[in-house]
Symmetry: D2
Subunit: 446 residues, 4 copies
């Protein structure tokens, strides 16, 4: 397939991540000759869109490539005839995230913006918007692929798979690529020589085996992983190291988010501590963003500034454009993405989203057969999948009881009473983004 | 089948529960004409065995039934040609249970004698003994049924199913019958009019539907269940009431042990508080037992004393003898027991133990097909199954790392670090009953 | 549940089987105190309805029971407030069945009124009618149970489960009860002492184990089954005896219809031979029916005449009223019926109909968990299930290509070419009952 | 991985196919720098081995490559330190195949050397030998990959997966590549532009979708496939064209061997006819082989002679060396091979062999998740899998009854009586290669 016009629409184009993405498109231009990049944002994001959009234009110009960068507040215009739609929007912005983190902490629960209460509320805010986007896609670009980066990526992909009419959706996360990078660093070898068999869910993905030049080095990696000095894989989660006995018996690679479940106490203590000192992650990022946008304003800047890596989204650019390119070129290489299970992982429903190693074809990702997960991993994965399914259902139906249920069964929540308290306070805090609940459920929240 | 001689051997016959069991055999004598009841215990239990054995003899005599009660310390003699073997032994006695409860509390973890760290260590102590019993059964009574009451009943049944050569094993618990009794009381009707569709695991069983005279009353029961006044189903766990939103969205009956998972904080606080005031449950029971055995010594006592019900094993007698009778008479009625899954619950391995409604035949229980559990229940059930499987594996292999892994993945454990600390202290405390670990693993425990 | 009024509606009430059913209601009156029996038929069946209806009234009168027998051509009136609806109608009557048998034979294919081409066309004629009935039931008796005897019972139950809004449906067949009777006769013991673990599909059901007084006698039965003298289980299929090596390695009881698959050649030869001599089964039955209705006319006859047993429906009465009574009384005994799989048999879709041992409750049958069928049985069962599913789909959609596909994948069909020839000739022969195809597909059939 | 010495051992090296394989190694030498090719055969094949081995040497010499071709009758020497072991031996040679084809025809059954009675007996002869080879491999080359071409490839792979200690086995067939070539020809495009999603079993594989340059052209291909002129995909099976209605409703690509099941009558008639005229396939091939070996003797011949393509093994060379190269280079491309299911196809046991599209890595093939097969395909696939499993079990255990069972449940067999007759006559005919049966089962065969 060689298209004359190749159009990408990026929802939430005013994000500070955009230079990452633009860099990705520039690097892979030979394989993916993008002609139009539409950055779309909402009224409130107009200023940021213009700042980062101008940087994007300067980057493209410096690269000397014929990519037209369009800035717009009109989402329908951006979607019209798009080939790929990427989403990096954040409903309610970092202010909402700060609440996602702060409120649960008051109740002794970690806010966690993906699988914890923060993730629940981010999902409740995001899913209605993503379902609006998919409706517009049906009409305006029915053959386009939706590449979703918006967290909680697993829950959002689940919602699109089960509640939209769009099949062409892939959820993407930088955690797996970060794990590969981390292993490469651990072994002091180039990233390209490492391969990991991934299986699980978003932010709950395991490496079932890991290879260096095709030879399994799992044993060595696990030995090193149980050494506290080596744990730090991604920038925004400090490593604390596993108990050697635990990780050796688990006999699989963990992702950084596993610390929330296998080290809940330490992570909670740390979050409370940080929130008192440097602020929650959202508050830190708000400061970082401010600085980044100051940088972006510099008319002389025409590359992605290195400071962006502090932001935490490392490798997004690589992961995203690698995926888009493989779909476009029908490359059939193996990448870890969020897609429909189709029986690949036993005991997860066939129609649910999983994060697993897939062959990427023009028709999208096809998961490699995993069979059963290791016994020790099976329970937690199933539990998070239950949480994701019920959260998605709550987001779509506006069923307040389901929101309480979702949070109660989340392994980070200490009780149904606290779950309800958190849900109530967060419902109120985010009311403007949760109309699906407030239309009918207002009485409940008195 | 009409046997001339009908022999039951009760391992741990010196238990304070024995009068319950004897009462059960007396009540159902018409259907199950027991001729020999062998109460067997170990040297340390000799005195108790004699006290409770004498009471048993007086009870039988009063009932005017030709049941011979034998007391012995020779397990092989007791097993020889038995038709049913029941187990109610406790390795290490209540002292060990007190440690199971006290030690984890030091680390801020509830000891819980079934699914928590207490359950892990009770399993590690019990499984080697039960596997000795099954080996002797293969030789001495290969056609006998093993009816296991020893907790953690799910883990023990799992171990027998997967690591012994015995097929004829059923795990029994008084929780489901207690739930039926609780519902009957809640609705103020006779127990016989209530039926519940049970599915799940031991101490993690859900009532998927509940009927009064064959008509579903689930909605009404759930409404009442969400009322704090109605929660108290079994004597040894105080009810605290569910959040109405949670239980209504869950839309299934819970068992009392669900409070450990859906109210972990409150249960922990309560356990810490009790341990300071009246002592842990084991300590309370030790006192109760002392009083019970004083009562039992009374030569004039020839019935089960009502004080035994305080002990917490209510309905055991009924559940146990009901099960034995149905096997003996091929009654094909429906009872909730622990048995091999055989595909009844989707996503639980076929060869694993589940607790579910079964038809009881001469060839043992056949589970009714459940299909998939409700989404909200699926995760926690899978997680406890993972914990049970790995714990059983650790018990059989003496693999110390697996014990740490089992405890780390348990949802009640706050981190791998704490898991290891608890395992280490408990290994030391229970060393005399854990030779499978100390033969090879001693080095680890320095 | 004790209802004041208990109403059964029998669709196809003019059938020669009706005296069987009436006898059944009389025998079980104590448990199932029927007050109204509505026999409903179509205009063409009016005369038969009156003859058999009058016999029914005489039978009830002789029994001295207060059951009102109503005869009507108004189906809606019959369904109104019914508690149970039984179906024994035959679209197109025995003339249609004669075509089902004769036409395939011309192409060297056995007509077989259930799983072969005859079954396909009987399904195509019957399913639209049964779906009309279920629509009326939704409106007129939404709590009633549909007890379907109409063949092909598996395919019809599949269609109701998947294409109607009715949940309360059970398919019933006399084959399993006939197998029990056959085994009883083989062992020369009373039927009540025999129990069989059934699993499979309608007319493709296996006995996975068989018990006499609760002790497995499978080995003995299989030995006897491999003796040609013992094979004859049901009246309308002559036994021909299995090769001992085959049945011993299969290690399961077969049903009479297995001969169509494991003895296709002999069954075909026999069918060709019979069709030349005494006529096809339908033709023989037509003669039998004529004689039966002559008998029924006799005003002095007030019991089921023994000649009815020649007709081939032996034990229907017992099976049907036993099932109805167990539902009514919530008896929870075990009976083999056609119901939704719900995971009971692995590798059959959860929502498909299976024929298997179930506990019969007020809420209908709950299948016992089977797990995987024996390897040797798995293939054929899956194949017939594929045939049933696609046939049901063809019946509902009127998709001519699907009808050709269904017949081509049927193991009794020698090729796609012959499948199409048979479909074409049968479509034409049955055109008046297949309007779903002729509305849109007429062009195809030129 | 870059090995200094790269050794391939070919069991049955004296086969007429060997020049295909040698050509393949020459063509892909750049990627797979073979240093030693060991052609091993048995005493009876010595002459052929020398003829074809000399040709192989001349081919290598002409190509100017440093590949050492070794000829040996010592299998252990050939296996010692091999990197890949390929098998193309034929136990009993073409004489045995002629019997496999001729004997069943006497009973009106097609002999078919893979899934029919011929396949059963070829399996019974082959599996004991392959299990000897795998035992030697454990000892002499434990890291080597076994690439099995010997038919019935599905049954042989199943046997190795389940009854050997070797994991590293792949079964290979030229049918899928032939289907790709056929589609390419049908659409008149280059083979490289065609991709098919394969799923099923060996010689029972379906194309679930087919792409030209990444765009699905299934509809077009199926339309063309239903045209009788286009059906001929592989040389040794004449096309006869599907009924358009059948193939359109099936909505999947068939493989040539499907004609045995969906056109059994026509295939049988043709086989009977051919056997009378030109002889069975084995007899034709015997003549072809004679001519081929005459050609091979020509000292001036130093390429694969074009006449070999008549032989029927087209594309073997390409498929085999492509697979070996991808394993060696960890290429991770997608190829259709026979491998362990691991949950890729629902309702086939996880540990059974399937033929499906896999990613080929250094650790072997990883199947892509398929989920459920189309309903219409599911039955036949399950049935052939049952046949393969029981046949493999019969081959390993020497259980005569299982052999009768396997043949009876095969869809090509008209009855258990005929199955037994064929088994008996074939057992006698092949007695010298079936010692596993004759040691214990001789009494049966009187």
């Amino acid at each position: 397939m060689q298209k004359e016009n190749l159009k990408v629409a990026t929802i939430g184009g005013g994000s500070s991540y955009t230079p990452e993405l633009v860099e990705g498109f520039i690097k892979r231009y030979d394989e993916f000759p993008l002609t139009e990049l539409w950055l779309v944002d909402i009224e409130e994001g107009k200023e940021k869109l213009e700042i980062v959009g101008d940087l994007a234009k300067r980057m493209v110009q410096k690269a000397g490539l014929p990519i037209n960068v369009h800035l717009t507040l009109n989402r329908r215009e951006a979607l019209k005839n798009a080939d790929f739609v990427t989403t990096q929007f954040r409903v309610g912005g970092l202010d909402a995230r700060a609440k996602d983190e702060r409120i649960p902490l008051k109740y002794g629960v970690i806010g966690q913006e993906t699988n914890g209460p923060g993730g629940l509320f981010k999902g409740l805010r995001t899913i209605p918007v993503i379902l609006e986007v998919t409706k517009e896609m049906e009409e305006l670009c029915p053959d386009a692929w939706l590449i979703n980066f918006t967290n909680p990526a697993g829950m959002v992909t689940e919602a699109v798979l089960r509640y939209s009419n769009i099949d062409r959706v892939v959820g993407l996360c930088n955690v797996p690529i970060g794990m590969e990078m981390g292993v490469a660093k651990l072994l002091d070898v180039d990233h390209s020589r490492i391969r990991i068999d991934f299986a699980g869910l978003n932010h709950m993905v395991y490496g079932l085996d890991v290879y260096l030049d095709g030879v399994s080095v799992k044993e060595e990696v696990i030995r090193k992983l149980s050494d506290p000095e080596n744990i730090s894989f991604v920038k925004n989660i400090d490593g604390m190291g596993w108990q050697p006995e635990f990780i050796q018996a688990l006999n699989a690679l963990t992702c950084p988010y596993h610390m929330y479940y296998y080290k809940s106490k330490e992570m909670l203590d740390k979050a409370i501590d940080s929130s008192k000192k440097e602020g929650t992650r959202a508050e830190v990022v708000q400061q970082l963003e401010k600085e980044l946008f100051e940088l972006y304003k510099d008319k002389d800047l025409d590359i992605k500034p290195p400071q962006l890596e502090e932001r935490g989204g490392a490798y997004y650019s690589d992961a995203a454009v690698r995926l888009i390119t493989s779909i476009y070129t029908d490359k059939r290489d193996i990448q870890p993405v969020n897609t429909m299970n189709r029986g690949a992982i036993a005991s997860i429903p066939d129609d649910s989203a999983i994060e697993t190693s897939c062959v990427i074809t023009k028709d999208g990702p096809i998961p490699l057969a995993v069979g059963d997960l290791p016994v020790a991993a099976r329970g937690l994965v199933q539990q998070i999948k239950s949480f994701e399914r019920i959260s998605a259902e709550a987001a779509v139906t506006g069923d307040y009881n389901k929101a309480v249920l979702a949070l109660t069964i989340n392994p980070l929540t200490p009780s149904d009473v606290i779950a309800k308290q958190i849900v109530d306070e967060m419902m109120e805090a985010h009311e403007e983004y949760l109309s699906q609940f407030f239309k009918k459920e207002k009485a409940h929240l008195k």
